[in-house]
Symmetry: C2
């Protein structure tokens, strides 16, 4: 059993209006030291497999196919044995 | 300058319908080894401060006030010097 922790982030070249909105909200609350905010997704997946390499392959596949949009987003993940 | 990487996750006792939906989608794609999916937020924040303890305090404050809902969600973060 493995726990995959997957972060999906917008590519650097893609504008992030949600992050901009949060940045402005923080500026209005006088957090002037905050210079940039970018918002992504975080996904935890439990996999019932024995081999780490199998888990890695599955997480790569589902990240590309379902969890991220490869045109606009990058993903990275860690795997923990449970 | 610090980069804070903040993960916001639903508390264990809170149902996650979005994660359930993704789980069912994965089951329909025959990913039968996947047993649980939980979906949260991932936020990257750049802070223009010198001291790590100051950055920590700010990230804790904005996470509680603006980025998470403390009733339903937990957060944790890492800080990297840039």
């Amino acid at each position: 059993m493995y726990l995959a922790k997957i972060n999906v982030v917008l590519k650097k070249s893609i504008l992030d209006p949600q992050g901009q909105t949060v940045l402005h909200a923080l500026e209005n609350l006088n957090y002037n030291s905050i210079k940039e905010v970018r918002i992504g997704k975080y996904i935890e997946v439990k996999l019932d497999v024995e081999e780490k390499s199998v888990a890695e392959n599955i997480v790569n596949e589902i990240s590309r196919k379902l969890l991220s949009n490869p045109i606009m987003e990058n993903y990275y993940f860690t795997l923990e044995r449970m």
